[in-house]
């Protein structure tokens, strides 16, 4: 079981802008999971933590959680929610900053990233994810190194 199960990005309306699954799920399950996370994170405000515990979630998540303890760590950027689903014992703050590190890379790569960049360049976003997270683990944390690599790939035909 990976530490990180799911990494995804939703907009306020609940549309998925990125979803990376590090575990096997059925397509139906995936959709329901995303809907439930959306319902939970969008009602939270600054007085809430950035961490969602299992019992805040509804049916499908509970089914999934029955075999694994997990939590969701999320961060909001304007209209986008970046969410990570990790093992309950994992370090909350490390993953919270892991999200931010990733977003800063996107921001550099796309020059002030906006939601549309993620839509039109979805296939590139996956490359960015794989550079930074692989097999549900953190692969590379240096923004300089990641951007250098992305620049190199960009130059390839």
């Amino acid at each position: 079981m990976p530490h990180l199960f799911i990494f995804f990005c939703l907009n306020r309306a609940g549309k998925t802008r990125l979803a990376k699954w590090y575990m096997q799920f059925d397509d139906d399950e995936k959709q329901k999971l995303i809907e439930e996370v959306h319902a939970v994170v969008t009602v939270r405000d600054a007085k809430h933590t950035n961490f969602v515990e299992v019992w805040d979630l509804a049916v499908i998540f509970l089914l999934f959680s029955q075999f694994r303890n997990f939590k969701i760590i999320y961060r909001r950027y304007a209209g986008l929610y970046f969410c990570i689903c990790v093992d309950v014992t994992d370090n909350n703050l490390a993953y919270l900053e892991g999200i931010h590190n990733f977003v800063e890379v996107l921001n550099e790569y796309f020059h002030n990233v906006c939601e549309l960049d993620l839509v039109f360049n979805f296939y590139k976003v996956y490359t960015v994810v794989d550079e930074m997270f692989l097999a549900g683990e953190i692969r590379e944390t240096s923004q300089t190194k990641v951007l250098k690599q992305l620049l190199m790939l960009q130059s390839l035909e």
Binding site: M1, P2, Q31, A46, K47, H48, T49, N50, F51, V52, E53, W55, D56, Q66, F67, N69, N91, N92, L93, A94, L96, E97, G98, H100, N101, E108, Y109, F110, H111, L116, D117, V119, F120, N121, F122, Y123, Y126, T127, D130, L134, A135, G136, E137, I138, R139, E140, T141, S142, Q143, T144, K145, L147, Q149, L150, L151, M152, L153, Q154, L156, E157
Partner: protein
């Protein structure tokens, strides 16, 4: 710096995406998509060969359509073709499509694997990474079979580029997790561990995840990683905030790597080497010191990164639980966070402090924060923070602060979130009992609990208060008075009526002197609630009434009248009707003496672990609550009265018994790491008491006196077990009867039966020859235990029988050995050793449970050692009925409707040994297509998980 314009490279794709975005309705979108699908299909089918660019563009469009949530049933072949392109952009789209869309049992897998193989050997780092990422993303068994041996080579090769190493390490991790049997680290171990020394921090970051996972599974082989991790950590911690350049994040040097290093160290006990330990303690102190320094930046990223390391360091300090100084410092640091303006920090501090509270070194330090925590319980806006505060209050509670904490929790209960009420109720009930100095306080607390949160008071709670009142005569009068007062409330909870009925029925006489609570007043009060209650409560009240007749003869007429009315003796509920009829009869025909004997006061309950505690343990993992034994002195275990008293209260009494120690409540009494058998090893844990049966089967005529009396060990040492002994043993894991062994001379049959921790085994030795066996001796020995010579028997052509009585003392892995020696008339001495098919699962008691119970327990057994998992190829039929029969033969209960996937099997049972009960949960996931199984076991004892997993993997 790189910048990407919208959809650069593939104009057609950008146009299509824009079109979709401009669709006004779902229908319009579907129409547009169908048009595009038709277009792509015709292109793919067309006569004209598509160039790489077009293929890439169309495959990418298909991918986009799929990600929108539409099914895609073609294009896979084109995607696979892209893999063999020598252009990065085409290859990348091909790999992406496959990672997202191709499931592992696709027939394309062979083609895909072929392309991956080519890329892995291309020596082009970009292509190698693409291939490795694809394996890491798909991670199927087929890929593991194809590449598990190749990837370690890439990982440790001297000329592999750093970025490829990073991908290879995590790719290997993924394969190890899906198919541990295929990833053999053996020769690579040391070189993989030394990746911790790699110059490139990115390589270390990736490799450490792999090393941590491997260390958890094989701690001994990887233990050299401890000193390497400590020195790496020490270098990072002592570096200045700019030393690590690329790896410095908001002035914090390598925060993620530091966390991973600290986490790796949590797989091991404190380092034994003094120098290493000293260096590590120094690191931990530095991390704690840095928390006190003024921040180098006001950005939240800076403080988050710094605190991520701090919390991980505190986890390690708690894991070691051996440095009082560090524990107290950690506690003080967390204390500061309790009042921090960041909600995240307050939450994490509460969570972390909860574990500190259970360490003897820091318990007192944690207690000093009680006011802040109470305040958090009252004022936090996020319910999960309040929940943590409640957990912490529970964890820090002891005799000195119990009254305050219980009062605060009670008042919090009035407004608590519904989701956590039941747990809060259990906690209050436990604390009240555990720290009750005077029992009137205890009774008050529980009655308050019922008043405030009656719906959430489970049966365990009210059974327990009754047990305690019955067992302690100093509180009975007070309890009767209090419950009488509580029942005065116009609307009181049914649980209050139950407690009231029971207590007044037993001890109403203690307050009957007061005219305000005279017998009739008591009865009328109870009876005024009767009609609003459910059947079980009414049944209990009827028992209380008959007790009243005994206690207070003056109420007899009134009560008989009540019993006699149609709504009682003709009640449609059988139980109620029967009680009414029997009680009425009893009260009219029995003499006062008989009545007094039958309806005597309940005897004290035998002392036992609080059933509430067991319930809470079920609800929460062992870490979340500190479970200490109830420490008010042992009370004499009163005898349950025999005979005579088949009176009215048997029903109520049986009800309370049923709830308390019986299977459902205590069965899986999951105590983490049982203290009892811990010091003992597996060897010799099974006591086999052997005696020969002198029954008719033993043909004494041919007994050879020589052998009969010689208790001295036989002249020859027992032979080592037969090579097929294990195989023979495996045949009996799921069954109890059959032929254990057979050759030309001898047949050994077995019949066995097991109950709790005891077993009886009948061995049948059949002589297949026509001549007799002389000096026939059998010896049963437990590994590591003294051999117990058995009575030697000589056998004359027929069959003799031997009985073994078996008792399981504690859990074990090695089966007892059965050595058989005999000489054929005039022949050579035969010397044969077999394993007796006594396996740990024989001592299973099946446990039926509901889905929610199952999952609570499953989660509770979440320590990595408690789980054992195996993925293996099917060796036998995968037929459902066959599987079910085997699982039942195993001795566990096969539970239906628990696993969300109906194909899977879920079982539960408790292994009974003399010293303890070991709860075991099992999940078997067959994959018919791949002819594979995944078997997962979680047991309260790690050795049992392992052993069961080994045994069972042979069965399917």
């Amino acid at each position: 710096m790189p910048a990407v314009s919208k959809g650069d490279g593939m104009r057609g794709l950008a146009v299509f995406i824009s079109d979709i975005r401009n669709c006004k309705s779902k229908e319009a979108e579907i129409k547009r998509i169908n048009k595009e699908l038709a277009n792509i299909r015709s292109k793919f089918k067309g006569d004209k060969a598509l160039d790489g660019y077009s293929k890439k563009k169309y495959v990418c469009k298909l991918l986009f359509i799929f990600l929108l949530g539409h099914d895609i049933d073609f294009g896979h072949m084109e995607a696979v073709n892209l893999l063999s392109s020598n252009k990065y952009t085409e290859k990348q789209i091909g790999y992406l499509f496959i990672s997202v869309l191709v499931n592992s049992n696709s027939e394309l897998i062979r083609l895909i694997n072929n392309a991956i193989k080519n890329d892995l050997s291309s020596r082009n780092p970009t292509f190698m990474c693409l291939a490795l990422h694809c394996i890491a993303n798909v991670g199927s068994r087929e890929m593991a079979e194809a590449f598990a041996s190749e990837i370690p080579r890439i990982l440790v090769a001297g000329d592999t580029m750093d970025s490829v190493k990073q991908s290879a390490a995590l790719c290997l991790l993924r394969l190890y997790k899906t198919s541990p049997d295929l990833v053999l680290m053996g020769e690579w171990t040391s070189r993989v561990v030394h990746l911790l020394n790699d110059q490139h921090m990115g390589v270390v970051t990736a490799a450490i995840s792999l090393i941590t996972c491997l260390s958890q599974k094989n701690p001994d082989e990887f233990k050299t990683c401890v000193s390497l991790a400590v020195s790496r950590l020490s270098r990072i911690v002592s570096s200045a905030s700019t030393d690590l350049q690329d790896y410095t994040y908001y002035f914090v040097p390598a925060p993620w790597l530091s966390c991973k290093l600290l986490r790796l160290l949590q797989c091991y006990p404190p380092p034994e080497d003094g120098a290493v330990k000293g260096r590590l303690v120094e690191c931990l102190e530095t991390i704690l010191n840095k928390a006190q320094e003024p921040p180098k930046s006001k950005k939240v990223q800076h403080s988050n990164a710094k605190n991520a390391i701090l919390f991980e360091a505190i986890s390690l300090i708690i894991h070691y639980d051996s440095e009082p100084n560090l524990l107290v410092r950690a506690c003080n640091q967390l204390g500061q966070f309790l009042q921090h303006r960041e909600t995240n920090l307050r939450y994490l501090a509460l969570e972390s402090m909860c574990t500190l509270a259970s360490s003897e070194f820091s318990h007192e330090a944690v207690k000093t924060h009680i006011e802040t925590v109470i305040n958090a319980l009252k004022t936090e806006r996020d319910v999960s923070v309040r929940q943590r505060a409640a957990d912490l209050l529970y964890a820090m509670c002891d005799r000195s602060n119990a009254k305050q904490i219980v009062a605060e929790m009670l008042s919090y209960l009035e407004t608590a979130d519904y989701s956590i009420r039941e747990e809060m109720v259990l906690k209050v009930a436990i604390l009240a009992e555990k720290y009750a100095v005077d029992y009137s306080w205890y009774v008050d607390t529980i009655l308050n609990l019922i008043r405030i949160a009656g719906d959430y008071v489970s049966e365990e709670v009210w059974y327990r208060v009754i047990q305690i009142v019955i067992n302690r005569d100093d509180v009975q009068g007070y309890a009767a008075k209090t419950v009488f007062e509580a029942l005065q409330a116009p609307a009181c909870h049914e649980n209050m009526v139950k407690v009231g009925g029971y207590i007044l029925g037993e001890f109403g006489n203690l307050i009957a002197g007061d005219p305000r609570s005279s017998p009739l007043v008591q009865f009328n009060l109870l009876h005024s609630k009767f009609h609003l209650c459910s059947v079980p409560t009414r049944a209990l009240l009827l028992s209380a009434y008959i007790k009243f007749i005994n206690l207070f003869p003056e109420t007899k007429a009134t009560i008989q009248e009540v019993l006699r009315c149609d709504s009682q003796i003709r009640n449609s509920d059988v139980e109620l009707q029967q009680r009414a009829v029997e009680y009425l009869k009893l009260s009219s025909i029995a003499s006062t003496d008989v009545l007094a004997t039958v309806l005597e006061e309940m005897p004290p309950f035998p002392e036992r672990e609080s059933s509430i505690l067991a319930k809470l343990k079920k609800k929460k993992g062992p870490g979340a609550v500190s479970v200490t034994e109830l420490d008010d002195g042992k009370r004499e275990a009163g005898e349950l009265n025999g005979g005579g008293d088949r009176g009215p209260d048997t029903a109520a009494m049986a009800a309370s018994n049923a709830s308390t120690p019986s299977p459902s409540a205590d069965l899986l009494g999951i105590r983490s790491a049982a203290p009892v058998g811990a010091a003992q090893t597996n060897a010799g844990s099974l006591l086999v008491d052997v005696f020969s049966d002198s029954g008719p089967a033993a043909p004494s005529a041919a007994v050879n006196d020589d052998g009969f009396l010689s208790s001295a060990p036989p002249s020859e040492d027992p032979a080592p077990p037969l090579s097929e002994a294990d195989e023979l043993l495996n045949k009996f894991v799921c069954k109890n009867n059959g032929v254990l062994f057979e050759n030309q001379l001898l047949q050994i049959g077995i019949k066995s039966e097991y109950r709790q921790n005891l077993g009886r085994m009948y061995l049948f030795y059949g002589n297949k020859t026509s001549v007799q066996f002389a000096s026939f001796t059998t010896t049963v020995s437990c590994p590591g235990e003294l051999h117990k010579p058995v009575e030697p028997l000589v056998e004359g052509g027929a069959q003799i029988q031997q009985v073994l009585n078996i008792e399981c003392i504690t859990d074990f892995s090695d089966a007892p050995l059965l050595n058989i020696k005999f000489s054929r008339y005039g022949g050579a001495l035969q010397n044969l050793t077999l394993k007796l098919p006594v396996t740990i699962n024989k001592f299973f008691q099946p446990t039926e449970m509901s889905s929610s119970d199952f999952f609570q327990r499953w989660k509770q057994l979440s320590q990595p050692q408690q789980e054992a998992q195996k993925i293996f190829k099917a060796n036998h039929s995968m037929d459902t009925e066959v599987l079910k029969a085997k699982l039942l033969g195993l001795g566990t209960a096969l539970l239906d409707n628990i696993d969300p996937n109906p194909e899977n099997y879920v079982c539960a049972g408790v292994i009974q040994t003399k010293s303890q009960q070991i709860g075991c949960l099992l999940r078997l996931e067959p994959n018919a297509q791949a002819q594979m199984y995944r078997l997962t076991l979680r047991c309260s004892k790690d050795t049992v998980s392992k052993r069961l997993c080994e045994l069972l993997a042979q069965q399917f």
